[in-house]
């Protein structure tokens, strides 16, 4: 018997690579849930403490809420249910409500933020790279300096600065109250725009995209097919863009984790009520099922993004199919 044909071999290799990725995905989910469970278990105080001062009542509540189980047992129970779609019920945040039901609207809001930040960072980073490619520009240095600042500081400065400035003007009777005033108050485009902007810049996504694109653009511009295209008088940008897709997807998938992490801060400062803010509340209130549920979903999203990026890259770049 001879070895399987080369195509078949390549397909198998591809499948096994994707299989490994999927395995890593599941392991990451389980690991994230275990980490969250252990952290919450080791934190002083639990949900029963918050609800009851009387020792007898507390003991009864502990049993009812299943807080007397060791962390690995609780974790295993959670995971087996979660993989079946049941994320449990909230203990103290909205007692009794199904976690899935609670998390859905918040997750959608956060998704808007994350996707928005992703799109913005890609567009802005690419555009900036295109404009400033190669040269040591002031704009680029400024951008890098700003990116170093912590996310919460940026968000806070923006919100406070805007509001204080507008409030001063209002007090002096110089302006009438603008409708975007009091950012936590109203759902305005400006609030979302700020959130997306802060998330994009604060998690260094813009600078990363910018430098990656710069490198790529330099390489691309020097490449032969670009000269050839120019010589023919054809449009350049389809070539350039198509070649940017692989590095951009890599960055996008690696930044996804930072976006999700930065959500907590941005949502708290700008009062946006997404999963980040909810997770913070859940931890504060020792609502283990809710915190686990959110961690699980967040890990799934991040890993899912990486998986998707890998698939996309393989699809777009035929060279990768052979490399595996």
């Amino acid at each position: 018997m001879s070895a399987p044909p080369p195509d078949r071999r390549r397909q198998l290799a591809l499948l096994s690579a994707l299989g490994r990725r999927f395995g890593a995905f599941v392991l990451t989910l389980l690991g994230a849930a275990l980490l969250a469970q252990v952290l919450l278990w080791s934190a002083p105080g639990d949900a029963a403490d918050l609800l009851a001062g009387d020792p007898e009542l507390r003991a009864a509540l502990v049993v009812e809420m299943g807080l007397d189980r060791p962390p690995h047992v609780a974790w295993w129970a959670f995971v087996t249910h979660a993989l079946g779609g049941d994320l449990g019920r909230s203990l103290t945040y909205r007692p009794g409500m199904a976690v899935l039901e609670l998390v859905q609207p918040a997750a959608l809001r956060s998704l808007v933020l994350v996707v928005g930040a992703l799109v913005v960072s890609l567009l802005v980073g690419t555009a900036l790279a295109y404009v400033t490619a190669g040269r040591r520009s002031l704009g680029r240095r400024l951008l890098q300096a700003v990116s170093i600042a912590p996310v919460f500081l940026m968000a806070w400065v923006l919100v406070v600065g805007l509001n204080e400035w507008a409030f001063e003007l209002m007090l002096q009777d110089r302006i009438v109250r603008p409708s975007w005033f009091a950012l936590p108050d109203q759902e305005s485009l400006l609030k979302w725009a700020l959130a997306i902007g802060v998330l994009a810049v604060g998690s260094s996504a813009v600078t990363e995209v910018h430098s990656a694109c710069e490198d790529e653009l330099k390489a691309i511009r020097r490449s032969g097919y670009v000269d050839a295209a120019r010589a023919r008088g054809a449009r350049l940008w389809p070539h350039v863009l198509w070649n940017l897709v692989p590095p951009l997807t890599t960055i996008a998938s690696s930044r996804a984790a930072f976006f999700v992490g930065g959500l907590v801060v941005v949502e708290k400062v700008l009062h946006l009520n997404g999963v980040g803010a909810m997770l913070w509340q859940a931890c504060r209130l020792r609502d283990v099922p809710l915190a686990l549920g959110i961690t699980f979903v967040a890990a799934a999203v991040v890993c899912g993004a990486r998986l998707l990026a890998d698939v996309l890259r393989v699809t777009v770049d035929p060279r990768l199919r052979t490399q595996t």
Binding site: V131, T132, A133, G134, R135, G139, W165, A166, L169, Q172, D173, R174, I175, V176, P178
Partner: protein
């Protein structure tokens, strides 16, 4: 290859950024108006003619007046009434008058509290057998003019365990007036005290009664060994009567009478004094002054005890005075400005007027309105202190109004401020405290963190 395209791109970027910036600024300044000088309003003339406006524009009048009795006038301004009274002269007389109002307010509070306290006690668990409390509540009733009630209590006091109480009750039973001296005090300390009060009112001299007021005047020990101490229920009434006569002995005129009062002009003051003399309630001087009405500050409290109505009056006052003060401040000399701001003349005017208005509301049987007025009038930067903007009358009115609306515990907060400054008010504080204790019994005792 790069330069022309990228430099074009750069200028475009700058243009975009610049346009955005200008747009933001323009939008932000939409509706800008230039900082015009504040309009003083049509009532400026009336306020300019008031004592505050007059003194601010001609500070020499102030120094001339005040130099005659610097200590007295500065104490009167700061509402340190006992100190002002001691300094004598015109400010001394005015301080005596204000103290009379204060003790008058508290005398009513005291008697009210005595009645309520004893009645509540009786309805809860019954009064202890033979306690001297019946004597004291009877005395309090007598002072506040409820002679039938007083007689009923004295009748019960005749059965008191302590023979001195029984004897005193025997003497006062059947007597419905305080205007005659006792034939013989029989060596009875209670009767001796009663006589001392009579003497004080007759001779218009306090004779150390205030100093004695810091301590209880009688103690009884129950069968279980519990000691009960009682304070003097007649103290505030005597103080009011004596100090009122003292104030009347030296009448002030012109600016002397007007400065640091709630009246705007001398005509106001004359009119209001006449109103009070004709039977108006003491302490409401300047509440119905016509000049205020000219400014749109109408003291019409309405038929019902509507607190919002009262707040509207205060807001009208602020709406008239605030712009005037701003405009005036710009036109003064340095001395005048220092006087206006340093002594806060408009603030003093406001607080005295509002005190009179609050007493007017109490007189009209509208305690909630009185409370609302004082709450808005109080200077919250020094919430529990007596000062130029917080006359002691505020706290007295608060105590009375809270008591009348059943908020005994809140009344104690106000009384605490007064008791700190006037130790002889310990008696009022104690009896209102007893009432609060009785009203708080049987409630579910709860506490929480934060």
């Amino acid at each position: 290859m790069r330069s022309p395209r990228s430099s074009a791109a750069r200028t475009d970027a700058l243009r975009t950024g610049g346009a955005a910036l200008w747009l933001l600024l323009g939008v932000g300044c939409a509706g800008c108006n230039d900082g015009a000088a504040p309009d003083p309003g049509p009532d400026a003339a009336v306020l300019d003619a008031s004592w505050a406006g007059l003194l601010a524009r001609t500070p020499t009048h102030f120094t001339d007046l005040v130099d005659t009795n610097r200590i007295g006038w500065s104490a009167l301004h700061a509402n340190r009434l006992p100190a002002a009274r001691l300094a004598g002269g015109v400010p001394g007389a005015r301080a005596a008058g204000e103290l009379a109002e204060l003790y008058g307010d508290l005398a009513r509070v005291d008697s009210l509290a005595w009645q309520a306290m004893v009645e509540t006690w009786e309805s809860r668990s019954g009064l202890p057998e033979g306690s001297a409390v019946t004597w004291f509540v009877g005395l309090a009733a007598m002072e506040s003019g409820q002679s039938d009630l007083a007689q009923a209590w004295f009748a019960r006091a005749k059965d008191a365990t302590d023979p001195r109480v029984a004897q005193a009750a025997q003497v006062l039973a059947g007597r419905d007036t305080l205007d005659e001296p006792l034939a013989d005090t029989l060596g009875n300390p209670l009767l001796e005290r009663f006589d001392a009060h009579f003497e004080a009112r007759r001779s218009v001299q306090l004779m150390g009664l205030l100093e004695e007021g810091v301590r209880p005047i009688f103690e009884e020990t129950s069968a279980t060994g519990l000691q009960r101490s009682f304070f003097d229920p007649q103290l505030n009434w005597t103080a009011e009567a004596v100090l009122r006569s003292e104030a009347a002995q030296r009448s002030a005129e012109g600016l002397d009478a007007l400065i640091f009062s709630g009246c705007l002009t001398a005509e106001d003051l004359t009119q209001e004094t006449a109103r009070i003399a004709a039977g108006g309630r003491h302490g409401t001087l300047c509440a119905l002054a016509p000049s205020w009405a000219q400014l749109g500050v109408e003291p019409n409290l309405g038929e019902t005890d509507d607190a919002e109505q009262a707040r509207l009056i205060v807001r009208a006052l602020d709406a008239a005075v605030d712009p005037w003060r701003k405009a005036l401040g710009d036109s003064l000399t340095d001395d005048g400005a220092e006087l206006l701001d340093g002594l806060n003349l408009p603030g003093v005017l406001r607080s005295r007027y509002l005190l009179a208005l609050a007493r007017h509301a109490l007189a009209a049987d509208h305690p909630r309105q009185a409370l609302a007025i004082v709450q808005v009038a109080m200077d919250l930067e020094k919430p529990r202190q007596i000062g130029p903007l917080n006359p002691p009358g505020f706290y007295a009115v608060t105590a009375e109004a809270q008591l009348l609306t059943g908020h005994t515990r809140e009344a104690l907060d106000a009384l605490q401020v007064l008791a700190d400054a006037y130790p002889e008010l310990a008696g009022v504080d104690e009896v209102v405290g007893d009432l609060a204790i009785l009203q708080g019994l049987d409630r579910h005792g709860d506490s929480k963190e934060n």
